[in-house]
């Protein structure tokens, strides 16, 4: 009965009732879709889990290399990005809320702000990677930081702590794998949210069929949660220096 409440609006194209024929009722459909998405998120956690394991393994073996690596990142940009991503999760949650309220304008607006936050995150990340490239901190592509930017004193300091530049290179390999895989997820997320703006403006999700917005939100929030862990692990290993943050310079 709930299902055909909006079916009268469907003329032309493939607009169908929200209840798909394989489900008994809306509740069963709702649970099935949520469950399916959480199962997908579980596989996502497995994928990132491998990287988190690699991180743990190498950090345990050479802690100072991770201390050194974290001190070479731009802590200011990383911190700003964390604020940006948390804010994007809030706007995504608001989008889900307005889809349930059947408020087309606010749904589209919140999705748009989410896309803008997401794009800002990627833009800042690109600037960071650009800096890493210029400083010679990209393993396999441009790795000459310890030849060109760090003096013999630095190498001596590393040796005193029982690590070599190769260990720091491992930190950066893990850093690029983790932030890279995260960024790929951001790109996919931004594309999907952009597509949903288009659908929302067309009037989709306004007839009791708004659950896809919630499912999209689950994906976006998972990507946010992964960053919640990446940020302290990658950027704060060598501590946080407020003086660096509020003075214009980067993390080092």
């Amino acid at each position: 009965m709930a299902a055909d409440a909006h079916a009268h609006g469907g003329h032309g194209g493939h607009r169908h009732s929200a209840l798909q024929h394989q489900f008994d009722d809306m509740e069963q459909q709702r649970d099935s879709l949520s469950m399916g998405m959480w199962l997908f998120l579980a596989t996502e956690l497995m994928m990132f889990g491998g990287l988190f394991f690699a991180y743990s393994f190498y950090r345990w073996q050479s802690p100072w290399a991770f201390h050194e690596g974290a001190s070479l990142l731009d802590q200011k940009l990383g911190t700003i990005n964390t604020f940006v991503l948390l804010a994007s999760s809030w706007t995504m949650a608001m989008a889900v809320h307005y889809s349930a309220e059947r408020n087309k304008k606010m749904l589209a607006l919140m999705l748009l702000i989410t896309v803008l936050f997401g794009a800002a995150f990627l833009g800042i990340k690109a600037v960071e990677w650009g800096k890493d490239y210029q400083e010679g901190l990209v393993p396999g592509i441009r790795w000459n930081y310890y030849e060109h930017h760090a003096g013999p004193k630095k190498l001596q300091e590393l040796a005193e702590h029982g690590v070599s530049p190769t260990n720091v290179k491992m930190y950066f390999t893990i850093y690029f794998c983790m932030t890279g895989l995260h960024a790929i997820h951001m790109i996919i997320g931004i594309a999907l949210v952009g597509y949903f703006i288009f659908l929302a403006l067309k009037g989709q999700f306004m007839g009791g069929n708004e659950q896809p917005v919630e499912i999209l939100g689950l994906y976006w929030h998972l990507v946010d949660i992964i960053w919640i862990f990446l940020f302290p692990l990658l950027y704060l290993t060598a501590g946080f220096n407020p003086a660096h943050f509020f003075g214009g310079a980067g993390g080092h």
Partner: protein, 112 residues
């Protein structure tokens, strides 16, 4: 007919809104809590606590993730089967981490 549609619609709307759970006010409290926890993360990292820094950062991160999952990801308002899938995802993640690490430790590869 039109009236019955309207009432069914209104009923479903109310039902749906109830199911979707959190209000705007809840979301506002949640984002403020997340931002405060981020500032606490930064504050805790600004102090050198030796080997305690990492566990403190991870505990705060777990709290943040739990808040996101509970409210933004609607687990507080989800059915038992959905919550079970969410928890199982975390259980598998712990297994994925724990057993390889136990293996490496038993081979004397980890300095402890």
């Amino acid at each position: 007919m039109a009236t019955s549609h309207a009432t069914a619609d209104a009923h479903e709307h109310a039902h749906g809104a109830q199911h979707h759970g959190p209000t705007v006010g809840t979301y506002n409290v949640v984002i403020i809590a997340l931002l405060v926890l981020l500032i606490i993360t930064l504050g805790a990292a600004a102090v050198d606590l030796g080997s305690l820094n990492l566990p403190i950062a991870m505990v705060i991160a777990v709290i943040k993730a739990a808040i996101v999952m509970t409210f933004f990801m609607h687990l507080k308002f989800s059915s038992g089967v959905v919550r079970t899938f969410a928890v199982m995802a975390l259980v598998f993640l712990v297994l994925l981490w724990l057993f390889p690490m136990a293996d490496f430790m038993s081979r004397g590869m980890m300095p402890y």
